[in-house]
Amino acid sequence: MSRYALSIALKDLKRIFKAPLSLVSMLMLPIVITVIVGFTFGTSGDVKIPRIKVLLDDEDGGILPGFIRQSFQKVGSGKMVELVDTKADEGRRLIDRGKASAFIVIPKGSSSALLDKKPIEFLITKNPSELFLPAIVEEILKTDAVMLDGAVRLFGEPLDTVRTFLKGEHWPSGSELSRVFALARRRFVLITPYISDSLITVQTVRAGEKNEGGNFFALIFPGSMIIGLLFISMIAQRDIVKERARGTLKRVLSGPTSAGEFIIGKVMYNFFLTSISLIVLLVIARLVFGIGVKSPLALAVVSLGTALLSSGLVILPYGLIRSERAAVALMPSYIIVLCLMGGAMMPYETMSRLLKEAARYSPVFWVVDAFKRVMFLGVDMGDIMRNIEVINIVGILSILIGTAVLKRRAAKGL
């Protein structure tokens, strides 16, 4: 069966290589997008992300601020965030003058309120002139909040466990947390994967490890990259519609080749193109933007999944579209919506809460998130398992559904 698929993929490659110019311009697409976006955002010319300066007004002095301090220290091996203790007035003055990225106030009595399962609030003031950095701080804090909330709810008895957590004596492992969260209420379970992922992230970046610091480009790179890859897939897979309109699909299906094999051939062809583009992109990321990667394995696995997902996401609508004209008209909007929703156009960190919730329903989010974790936070395979799962499952499902749709339509003569 793979022999037919392989013939189809090779034939398509042969066809595209007959037009080298369009091939090159297609493969350049993600690179062009990334470079444009990169230089638009990085006008300062400074490609290294600066250390995030966070002001902390600790009026509580208990275990809660201890936990928060620790979470900031864990991120980027403590090199990414610079935590400065201030008093309320001083802090407000500094943030107003743009001297820091964020100002956090932890009110008196927060720790005991937390242990009594009473609602607590901490205030974060963000520097409005900065885009990403305060968002990162907010993200870390929110993760802390959800974690604490979960921990207190679930470990309410015995509180000792919570206390060890909060004192930072014992950092929970991923599996410990998963076990705990598995017991949680449904609403909570829904966001668990992200929470435990965040935790693991924090956990795996070991103190004392050499850290190059977050790279600004690493933040925008994944989004631009997936936009570009989806556009490559869009162009490459338009052949499905063309072949249907021109009768070659019918001819293929009148031979011993099945619709599934036809699609697998297309996926292989697409996979090859996106992989080449991705490799070029990653080399550029390394050489031009200085984005280093700690775990090549994690990068490779996410990249493979992404190439697959990228084909799948376009095969699905192409199964439904009949004419080339409709394909040309509809597909770019479809891709842009997916990317906008998934936080590939504007950074996820800067999206509103509602949009952030919505983002999780765009598979693009999981790609961007995974690449950010791998390239920006330098995490390992284990920390992006959830992403890998979502990416591959959605990729394979959309390929399967796309195949079924195409098959059905061919059989019905639609």
């Binding site: 001819r251 031979g255 003569g413």
Partner: protein, 306 residues
């Protein structure tokens, strides 16, 4: 070899086939003759296993087209009505691809490619991209792709469409050659003369129905061993029936009537009565019994009117 039983197929709002049945014997050239929109392509698509019928069955070489789809498809060569080629690739590359899908490889593939290219005299241009070919050349390539794997059963859907008369004859010869080599052939066309020249048996199809099946002689006999006369004129207010004594009215509409007459003198009498009745006759056409006559009789239309 091929048994088609009561095929029905509708598209969104068109009933394309309304119960089509026929059988094709081994080694036979079977013609499916019908005007545009008759359901020829729909029938061929179902036979080739691409399109699903709403009901009815197709068995080919004793196998069901749905159940044994893969095995049946391997036996068949299909030449679609559309020119289904990869325009960026050369004739040779196209043949290599399609031949490969039918399991040919290596020396066999090379040899068969050369064979079919020679068949339609495309060897000289075999390495040029198809998009640089003329319409007729593409049509010829479209044909040989369906023949490259020496299929036992060949389905040809109007393979001579838009091709010059000489090339048409050549294609008919090729089809005859394939039949002589033992292949079973289903050939659709809307050209009467092709059906006459080529086919052992013919089915006349119109509006999704088979109107008649048989050898050329059998179908012609259906039209009766009679001359078919078509009179064009102004018969308003005239009782045509009474004028047509001795003849059989086949078809009548505003200003045109067609009837068959057993012998010429009868026609003389009829014409005399027409003149006496003061009917303005603009044209008289007499046709000897032929497939065309049968066709007109069966469909009430001339094929070239469609």
């Amino acid at each position: 070899m091929i048994d088609v039983v009561d095929l029905k197929k509708s598209y969104a709002d068109v009933m394309a086939l309304r119960g089509v049945s026929f059988s094709v014997k081994e080694g036979e050239i079977f013609g499916l003759l019908g005007p545009n929109g008759a359901g020829k392509t729909t029938t061929v698509s179902i036979l080739s296993g691409v399109l699903e019928a709403d009901s009815g069955s197709v068995s080919i070489a004793g196998m069901d087209i749905k159940r044994d789809s893969k095995r049946v498809k391997r036996l068949m060569g299909v030449v679609p009505q559309e020119i289904a080629l990869y325009e960026e690739l050369s004739a040779k590359e196209n043949l290599h691809f399609w031949g490969g899908l039918y399991g040919l490889s290596g020396k066999d593939l090379e040899r068969e490619t050369e064979r079919v290219l020679e068949l339609v005299e495309l060897t000289d241009r075999a390495n040029d991209p198809v998009k640089s070919y003329s319409g007729g050349m593409k049509r010829r390539l479209n044909l040989i792709i369906g023949l490259i794997h020496r299929p036992r059963i060949i389905l040809l859907d109007e393979p001579t469409l838009g091709i010059d008369p000489q090339a048409r004859l050549k294609i008919l010869d090729i089809v005859k050659g394939e039949a002589a080599n033992g292949s079973t052939i289903v050939y659709t066309t809307h050209y009467l003369d092709e059906a006459e020249k080529l086919c052992d048996r013919i089915a006349i199809i119109d509006r999704g129905e088979i109107l008649s099946i048989g050898t050329l002689a059998e179908i012609a006999r259906l039209a009766g061993e009679e001359d078919m006369v078509t009179i064009t004129g102004d018969f308003e207010g005239v009782a045509i029936d009474s004028l047509l004594e001795g003849a059989r009215l086949e078809y009548i509409s505003e200003g045109v009537c067609t009837f068959s007459v057993p012998e010429r003198p009868v026609l003389g009498g009829i014409l005399e009565r027409f003149f006496k009745a003061g009917v303005k006759v603009r044209n008289i056409e007499v046709k000897e019994p032929s497939l065309e006559g049968a066709f007109v009789k069966l469909t009430g239309r001339e094929l070239r009117d469609m």
